[in-house]
Symmetry: C2
Subunit: 282 residues, 2 copies
């Protein structure tokens, strides 16, 4: 168990040591994988873009017909309380909401809410300079708009990613691409238009921030990205809370653009870092 | 919590009271819905068709690249031990295997195995005489051949089933039907051929038994069933461990056949009951 006795968690209304945070096996996440979550980054006690992550958490809950047992202000307070108590320099806060201690192992009941905080590591300069190599896989997530806990396909693909010597897998249906298991996808076209997939994706908070930043300097849009569009793109990158903006330089063994991290990608990362610095929530 | 202090469970190598069976929140079922399970019925101390359920459990584990921590004989012994200790007249044994206490909340580690036993209720005479009304939904499960714990779509559809006054939901893709969230589907054609869907289904043990039984008297086959085939069918039914053979009399508001449980369906149920009586495992 990845227990760290100095860390605390929130579980079903209580703050308790993380290594004592257990759920009964009747919980619907264990029985039926039924739950949602969200994940935000905390730097020096400041949760970044917290309002957006809370918006999405409540939206996912609504889509999956689960009621979050705390009002938004109380949830925010619980998060702040944990942040203060754990006092980590750089960390992630994960809020998980499950279908509860189901009586029949199928029907949702009163949901179980937990909040855990763990240190995170961000991409190194070396990773950024190298960029990611990716493979592709035909798949659309079950309920793309909801951040559910279902990662069966993504996790099952880990061995294929590794076997290919790649870093991640991009989902597509037919020739249209959507997203990574845990990140959004962007391309930079030859005319410097920045495009991210519009359909069948989880709307990432970093995706939203990068669209906004890109729109200041370039044409930026949500649209359709085909595998052919990627072949013809100048640059490609992925976005996520922990990866920020990560260049994608190779797909299924073929170079994207000139096969190195591109200037538009790196400029957007610079701008995102500035935006993060200004997003203190309290 | 549905705790019954007189029941015992198996959890990570230990036999302990069911109400003390907890998993740490780092478990990959809670973090990412990553796990498999299987479920078999026990009557008067006799697990029914146990070898088939164990075969499938090991097969699902292999498909999801999870290693069951017990050899087959040791797993069987643990199941027998629980059955003897709990001493229930009619129950279900559920074996769940998860991705384990993941260090990073994504990568599977040493799996966690648990076995729980709970009383089950079988269909009543009244339910059998009435039959099931069903609705349809376009969906194919992620990894149909594996009995994963992912029921996000099935559980999300519970409110639609209820709103329609129906009993279950049949998945289809285009005009081809596959399965229910927790049961297989059969039709009886005008020439008394008994057909069940071949593709994109979990291969149910009751499905296998019913195919075998049906083959003794009728033509019985795995094949393609379209929505049009159902409109033209004489009878339809579903099969599962706890529903056995349940007539399906109405789909999306329209009667199937004459809208009542059919003679072939009921004959197959009779034969299944006889087969269950002869399937004692020890």
């Amino acid at each position: 168990m990845p227990a760290n006795p100095t860390l605390y968690a929130y579980l079903r209304g209580e703050i308790l040591p993380y290594d004592q945070a257990f759920l009964h096996v009747s919980d619907l996440s264990i029985q039926r994988g039924y739950g949602i979550f969200d994940f935000l980054k905390v730097e020096n006690g400041q949760p970044l873009f917290m309002e957006h992550y809370l918006d999405r958490f409540y939206h996912s809950a609504q889509l999956m017909e689960l009621a979050i047992p705390l009002e938004r202000s109380a949830l925010q307070e619980a998060v702040f309380h944990l942040i203060d108590k754990n006092n980590l320099p750089l960390s992630g806060i994960k809020m998980i909401l499950t279908g509860g201690y189901s009586l029949d192992g199928y029907q949702p009941v009163e949901p179980n809410l937990m909040i855990v905080q763990q240190p995170v590591t961000m991409p190194t300069q070396e990773q950024l300079q190298k960029g990611f190599e990716i493979i592709t896989h035909e798949y659309v997530r079950d309920i793309p708009a909801a951040k559910t806990i279902n990662y069966s396909v993504g996790i099952k693909l880990l061995s294929q990613i590794k076997a290919a010597g790649a870093d991640d897998v991009l989902y597509h249906q037919g020739c249209v691409v959507s997203e990574f298991p845990r990140a959004n996808f962007f391309i930079v076209k030859q005319d410097d238009t920045v495009v991210t997939a519009a359909q069948d994706v989880l709307k990432g908070i970093t995706r939203k921030n990068v669209l906004e930043i890109a729109g200041r300097t370039f044409k930026a849009e949500e649209g359709t990205i085909t595998l052919q569009d990627i072949d013809q793109a100048k640059e490609a990158f992925l976005t996520s809370t922990t990866k920020r903006v990560m260049p994608v330089v190779k797909m299924d063994g073929y170079a994207i653009g000139d096969g190195t991290p591109g200037p538009v990608t790196l400029a957007l990362l610079e701008e995102l870092l500035k935006l993060e610095k200004h997003s203190a929530q309290r």
